[in-house]
């Protein structure tokens, strides 16, 4: 019994031990069998050497500067870069002056108009001797317009050979040191910083103005296809990427499933446009996509993107590797709405700013070269890559973005809290004493400038005002009103006519509104344009209507940058037009601002609405019996020069918050605005 019990306990102990042994051993064996998990610190990273402190530097202190004694290198033969092959000394003084070789023999209409557009630009000069850039137009070979070696060739130094269409001219001469501006040059032949990459323009590209972008709304429409693909015959086909993972794979094309719609379209309607890098017409497709607001997805393009020197294409297009199609597709599907939104808008901005017309392409080319010459005073990247674009933000005005009316938000700055009043005194030449008093009464007024522009002698005595008053003796020209006087020291200008009449609180309120919209014109009196079916042209009227598209510059706030733009970027012909038909000056100024902002102006309430509804045309003789009839065609002439109608209509007026509300007058800040 006892032994049985002993034996039992022994057996128990034994089996327990065995159990433990098996368990433990098994566990250990299991651990061995499983692959060791990587331990965080002990991965095979770069070792921490014991003697790392003793290692020598790659270059001994003091050794570095010593290596210098060696003659400067001569530029490599054959190849050119900007420093070696362009002589900027000729561009000193006036900046970029361009001479265009006249065409030999009969020329095509396109050629003639390109010539005209350069001749009308601020870069043009007649004399090849004064020019710092000599432009050789090398147009379509099919029409036999290949140039022969020009006279002042000088081994191509300071020459730009402009080829809008890549139909190659037979090389009749060596390019030498000439720069080449060419449509979609191949990456291998392109010399960055020296050549200029142009867009591949279709034959029928408009010369001026050009079709606006197709984008009608900021975000993609719901249900619109994610991807559009090129078709063989120049159309686009949308692909439903949900079902097929290989939309651009040849095999899939043979099997047009229900998800694929076969449709011929001239412009794609999709969020992304896939453009293969190989096909020669890819560059053409690229431009179509831009216009359509379809984000181009370029698969390993072999050509240089247009104006890549200045345009940041990562903001408007996606350049992906053609060898990873699935990854690209996945990336497109997963792209955040914020990025899609930004890319879409950028395509439209770039199209409108640089590509929509031949004229813009040529001016952009010249601007790129001017930026190289300017060096430090070139456009900062921000000016090239955000609206309104470098053609409309002149670097001669300033290179600091915060000086322009467009970039306050990006710069995190605000417009100044003061303005300068610029009062134009045309005939009959009465000093506008009442007006000066009203304007000087504004707490925001920094200075008053009187532009004396009539035959009468300057009055010797002026009012005593709280703000400095300067009198400028003008040249009796209407366009003088928009000259960028160096005496104007504030961002905001209140442009006035001596016969305008404003109250201090009107001025105060309008200025506060301008501070919220510094890029627009804020005015009191308005007029609107309309399409005149009867005459087949544009017309405009100052009659009271429910909408308006222009504000009269006889009483308006705007940024002083528009003076620079008016004087330095408009074609001379337009300014002459304004001088000859003074009523045109309002239209012209409104055109410029609308072309830049792509927005309508802003109207604020004006107490004397009734009496002065008619345009305050300067230059009218005597105390107006009747406002002179507006020169009938000035709006059409200006529209023709712009190439399109930039004016936009607005249906609103900005009033003080409590304007004419049924509350106590004591609560209201701008009481006097409500007086009849």
């Amino acid at each position: 019994m006892q032994s049985w019990r002993r034996r039992k306990s022994l057996w128990l102990a034994l089996s327990a031990s065995w159990l433990l042994l098996v368990l433990l051993g098994g566990f250990s064996l299991l651990r061995l069998a499983l692959p060791p998990r990587p331990r965080p610190r002990a991965s095979q990273g770069w070792p921490r050497w014991l003697d790392a402190e003793l290692l020598q530097s790659f270059s001994q202190l003091g050794e570095l500067p010593e290596d210098a004694v060696s003659p400067p290198q001569a530029p490599h033969g054959g190849s050119c870069n900007w420093d070696a092959c362009f002589d900027t000394s000729k561009c000193r003084g006036d900046g970029l002056k361009v001479f265009v070789y006249p065409a030999v023999g009969p020329i095509s209409e396109t050629h003639r108009r390109i010539l005209a557009s350069i001749e009308g630009s601020r870069f043009y000069t007649f004399s090849p001797a004064r020019a710092c850039l000599l432009l050789l137009l090398s147009l379509n070979a099919q029409t036999g317009e290949c140039s022969s070696m020009p006279l002042q060739w000088n081994r191509g130094r300071n020459h730009l050979v402009l080829r809008l269409h890549p139909a190659p001219c037979p090389r009749t001469f060596q390019l030498g040191q000439a720069m080449v501006a060419e449509a979609s040059p191949t990456v291998d032949s392109f010399r960055p910083g020296f050549d200029v990459a142009l867009p591949f323009l279709p034959e029928a590209h408009p010369l001026r103005g050009g079709a606006p972008g197709q984008l009608r709304q900021h975000s993609p429409q719901p249900g619109v296809a994610l991807l559009a693909l090129e078709e063989e015959r120049g159309g686009w086909r949308t692909a439903d990427t949900g079902s097929s993972a290989c939309p651009w794979d040849g095999r899939c094309e043979q099997d047009p499933g229900p998800g694929q719609t076969q449709r011929q379209e001239t412009l794609p309607n999709a969020t992304f446009c896939l453009i293969s890098g190989h096909r020669p017409e890819a560059a053409l497709r690229f431009l179509q996509a831009l216009q359509a607001g379809c984000i181009p997805v370029l698969l390993s393009p072999r050509w240089e993107l247009p104006f890549s020197e200045v345009i940041d294409w990562t903001k408007a297009a996606i350049v992906a590797d053609e060898r990873l199609p699935l990854q690209v597709l996945a990336a497109l599907q997963e792209m955040s709405p914020a990025r899609v939104l930004a890319l879409r808008q950028q395509t439209q901005f770039l199209w409108d700013a640089y590509f929509s017309s031949v004229e813009k392409v040529i001016h952009t080319t010249l601007e790129v070269i001017q930026d190289r010459i300017f060096g430090t005073s070139a456009h900062p990247s921000l000016l090239w890559n955000s609206p309104p674009g470098a053609l409309l933000a002149l670097s001669t005005f300033s290179t600091s973005p915060q000086d322009f009316p467009f970039y306050y938000l990006q710069q995190g700055s605000r417009p100044e809290g003061r303005f300068s009043a610029l009062i134009w005194v045309g005939p009959p030449g009465q000093p506008p004493l009442k007006l000066i008093q009203a304007v000087a009464g504004s707490q925001h007024c920094a200075q008053i400038l009187v532009l004396w522009s009539n035959e009468r002698p300057l009055p010797s005595r002026w009012l005593e005002t709280a703000v400095p008053l300067t009198v400028i003796d003008g040249h009796r020209k209407v366009s003088d009103r928009f000259y960028p006087y160096s005496t104007i020291r504030t961002d905001a200008i209140l442009s006035l006519d001596a016969r305008s009449s404003l109250s201090t609180s009107e001025v105060d309120f309008a200025f506060l509104v301008w501070q919220s919209f510094p890029e627009r014109m804020v005015g009191f009196l308005t007029s609107s344009h309309f399409w005149d079916e009867a005459h087949g042209g544009w017309g405009y009227t100052a009659e009271t209507t429910n909408e308006f598209s222009m504000v009269l510059t006889t009483a308006a706030f705007y940024h002083r940058y528009y003076h620079t733009l008016f004087t330095h970027s408009l074609p001379k012909a337009l300014r002459t037009l304004a001088d000859e038909a003074p009523t045109c000056v309002d239209v012209l100024m409104n055109f410029i601002v609308a072309a830049v902002t792509k927005l309508p102006p802003i109207k604020v309430p004006y107490g004397k609405q009734r009496q002065e509804a008619a345009p305050l045309a300067p230059g009218g003789p005597g105390p107006r019996p009747k406002p002179p009839a507006p020169a009938p065609d000035c709006i059409n002439q200006i529209a023709a020069a712009f190439g399109h109608m930039p004016l936009l209509s607005s249906r609103l007026r900005l009033d003080p918050v409590l304007f004419k509300d049924p509350v106590s007058v004591q609560r209201k800040k701008y009481r006097s605005l409500e007086k009849p």
Partner: protein, 751 residues
């Protein structure tokens, strides 16, 4: 097995079981068994003699086997740890002198010379980078070896301090992988930073025998000092076939755009000298040249400048008569005056960086560190990281032949731009020049951006200093665009159970010409919406969305049903707005599609007594918010509200059942930097049969709560984004002396 049962037995061996209670279970258990067996052994003699010998032998054998097994198991448990830790010890404390030696036979293969036509799509094997959801390349570093030729003479210095740091930086970064099969980029540990310290042919042979060399595909070499006497090539002379080169001192002729990476020449002084940031502004010298060993021709030019412009130009040179023990690299002299280097750089506005025999100069780094604007005079030099950095913002590049004009060129730069450049120069140094690590990571980021372009870092992220990034606003709807009127808007009515009032709102809103769809968000989970037949018959599609939870944020959810860009959020009790007013509101939104355009306006004020923000709904001359009880906005803001609202604001709003409109006002103002637009005159938002916004707002606790919201949101946003304006939008002819019937929107402001 549990520790408690083992320890509860009280059989702990006095010697081996001294571990504290919280030791590992396994060890405890082992200890228990061992103690137990020992105990039985001691008792053994009393027990065993009574058994038969056969049994005895059997038991003894059995016990010994068990014992042995246990000991072995125990050993097994503890051994592996010590083996591993001794391994660790080996890794951490290895010496560079002990790295394996590789003998390179004289006839081992040499790679082709660098291929100048290489581009990412021709020479780079992108398949290796495969699909990576994080859009991050993986970099493998070869183990360090020492290469010797047939005679045992070493090929180069094993590794320099900088290259060791560089590899360490890569190894510590997210790019690193130790799995050679998953790597997309390979970095040899063969140090080619300085071409002067290596033997070209043998180094090339060493590269060629790397295990994944494959003509250098996807291999990245770092070189800062290329070329050697007498002709000083501008790229590393070591034949490297298709390998990418991160080189300091490329010229336009050797740099393969979009393939190579131009990097700075690291200045070891940066690590030694701490130059605190000096604010921008005018400094003692306008132009300074601190380089020694300049070409005599250049020195003459510079000295001519000094003669011409006097005090404002300073040309320094090596010191000739320094006393013993003074580091000559840390001193510069002009005649007999001695200056500390690099401190003297902080005294100058512009500093000359002239090419030497090499284009890349380490002095560039010193100059940037000092916040001095570099004047780079080195024709055809590819500036460091020029693929992503905008050097126009931080430097002046002057052609060599224009050296005599340098002074006038610099003088034409406006003071404000100079200060901007000074700030930018210092920022470039801090971000990309400061350390070897910064250089290595920027290089990898550039390559990463090429491979995953859709996830690339933007120009602003590379170039804008932190202060600018913080202050600037990039409006998500930046394109000036007036959407066509034909698009119309979608009205979204959030409702709980006020069916009657809801139906009135639906009927009123459906009269607005530009309405294109009506969406009712049914926020009541306990009650079904009325049957289809009971809803008002309207001319546009009406959709009812049922929500899963009664949350205020349901109002701002980006429903798929919203097809128009314009959204009108309207409460189910706002029946006092006329069709003219709503239509006009939509027209105003079209002119300001990036803003909130709403009817009742509100204001935030700073309460000086309480030192916090206060909510104001009185009749004031200013507006900073509009209530979303009736407001138009772009549907993108629904997406932002739902997915990108900072902090815990969204949950906070849902928990408090209040302030979703204030949150929306904050969000839109913060992201666009613009003020709201209040439309049409003030109305009493009161209706006889319902509690309207104003009725509610008058409640004192309500006001307190709303003020709290503003303070809470301002602290989450870290700023007060709301903008105060003094205007509202009215129709052009509002209250003008003009026949009412000719006005577009006559029915405005009437109750």
């Amino acid at each position: 097995m549990s520790c408690a049962s083992g320890s509860g037995g009280g059989l702990r061996h006095p010697l081996r079981c001294q571990k504290p209670w919280d030791e590992e279970c396994e060890e405890e258990a082992v200890c228990v068994i061992m103690c137990a067996s020992v105990k039985y052994n001691i008792r053994g003699p009393a027990l065993i003699p009574r058994m038969k010998t056969k049994h005895r032998i059997y038991y003894i054998t059995l016990f010994s086997i068990v014992l042995l097994g246990l000991i072995a198991t125990g050993m097994f448990q503890f051994w592996p740890h010590s083996i591993e830790s001794s391994n660790d010890w080996n890794v951490e404390k290895r010496s560079i002198r002990d790295v394996p030696v590789v003998r390179l036979p004289a006839d081992s293969p040499i790679p082709e010379r660098g291929d100048l036509s290489c581009r990412m799509h021709t020479c780079f094997d992108v398949y290796r980078c495969g699909f990576n959801p994080k859009n991050k390349i993986k970099v493998y570093i070869y183990a360090l070896k020492k290469y010797v030729d047939d005679f045992g003479v070493s090929v180069s210095n094993t590794i320099s301090r900088e290259y060791n740091e560089l590899l360490m930086a890569i190894s510590d970064s997210d790019y690193y992988t130790d799995d050679i099969n998953r790597a997309c980029l390979f970095v040899p540990s063969i140090d080619v930073l300085n071409q002067n310290t290596l033997r070209i042919k043998e180094t090339a042979q060493a590269l060629a025998q790397l295990s994944r060399w494959d003509r250098g595909t996807n291999h990245l070499l770092f070189n800062m000092l290329p070329g050697g006497p007498p002709d000083y090539n501008t790229a590393l002379d070591v034949p490297r076939d298709r390998a990418l080169l991160a080189g300091g001192g490329f010229s336009t002729w050797t740099y393969r755009q979009g393939y190579d990476v131009s990097i700075p020449v690291f200045s070891p002084l940066s690590a030694e000298v701490d130059l605190p940031e000096k604010g921008p502004g005018p400094r003692q010298y306008f132009l300074l040249s601190s380089q020694v060993g300049l070409h005599p021709e250049y020195r003459e030019d510079l000295e001519a400048l000094q003669v011409k412009h006097g005090e404002s130009v300073l040309v320094l040179d090596k010191c000739t008569n320094l006393s013993e023990g003074v580091l000559s690299v840390r001193k510069r002299c002009h005649k007999h005056q001695v200056f500390d280097y690099p401190q003297v750089l902080q005294e100058a506005t512009f500093c000359v960086v002239l090419r030497g025999a090499r284009l890349g100069q380490a002095v560039l780094s010193d100059v940037l560190q000092a916040g001095c604007v570099p004047v780079v005079i080195a024709d055809s030099y590819i500036l460091p990281f020029s693929e992503v950095l905008d050097w126009k913002r931080a430097s002046v590049v002057v052609p060599e032949e224009k050296m005599s004009d340098v002074y006038s060129i610099l003088q034409s730069i406006p003071q404000r731009q100079i200060e901007e450049m000074q700030r930018q120069a210092r920022w470039f140094w801090e971000a990309y020049f400061q350390s070897i690590k910064a250089i290595a990571l920027a290089t990898l980021q550039i390559i990463n951006d090429r491979i995953y372009p859709y996830a690339a870092i933007s120009y602003e992220e590379w170039n804008d200093p932190p202060a600018v990034k913080w202050g600037s606003v990039s409006n998500p709807l930046f394109l000036p665009l007036i959407p066509p009127q034909s698009q119309g808007f979608t009205a979204i009515v959030l409702t709980y159970d006020r069916v009657e009032s809801l139906f009135r709102v639906i009927t009123e809103v459906s009269k607005v010409p530009s309405l294109s769809k009506l969406l009712v968000v049914w926020n009541n989970q306990n009650k079904n919406p009325p049957e289809d037949s009971l809803w008002p018959k309207i001319r546009v599609p009406l959709k009812v969305v049922r929500t899963a939870e009664n949350k205020l944020s349901n109002r701002f959810f980006p429903y798929d049903e919203i097809e128009t860009e314009a959204v009108l959020a309207i409460d189910d009790d706002i029946i006092m707005l006329t069709s003219d007013e709503l239509q006009f509101g939509y027209e105003v939104w079209r002119e300001f599609p990036d803003r909130l355009v709403g009817y009742p306006g509100r204001l935030h004020l700073w309460d000086h007594e309480m030192n916090k923000w206060k909510y104001e709904s009185e009749w004031t001359n200013e507006v900073s918010m509009v209530l979303t009880g009736a407001a138009f906005y772009h549907k993108y803001f629904n997406y932002l509200y739902t997915y990108k609202m900072p902090g815990d604001i969204k949950n906070w709003v849902d928990a408090h059942m209040n302030c979703e409109d204030i949150a929306m006002n904050f969000l839109v103002a913060n992201v666009t930097g613009k003020a709201v637009i209040k439309v049409t005159p003030r109305k009493k938002f009161k209706c006889p049969e319902c509690t309207a916004i104003d009725g509610l707002s008058l409640d004192q606790t309500h006001m307190v709560e709303r003020s709290e919201c503003i303070n809470k949101f301002a602290s989450v946003f870290g700023t007060m984004p709301l903008k105060v304006v003094e205007h509202r939008a009215d129709p052009v002819l509002y209250k003008d002396d003009f026949p009412e019937k000719l006005k577009s929107f006559p029915n405005i402001g009437s109750l």
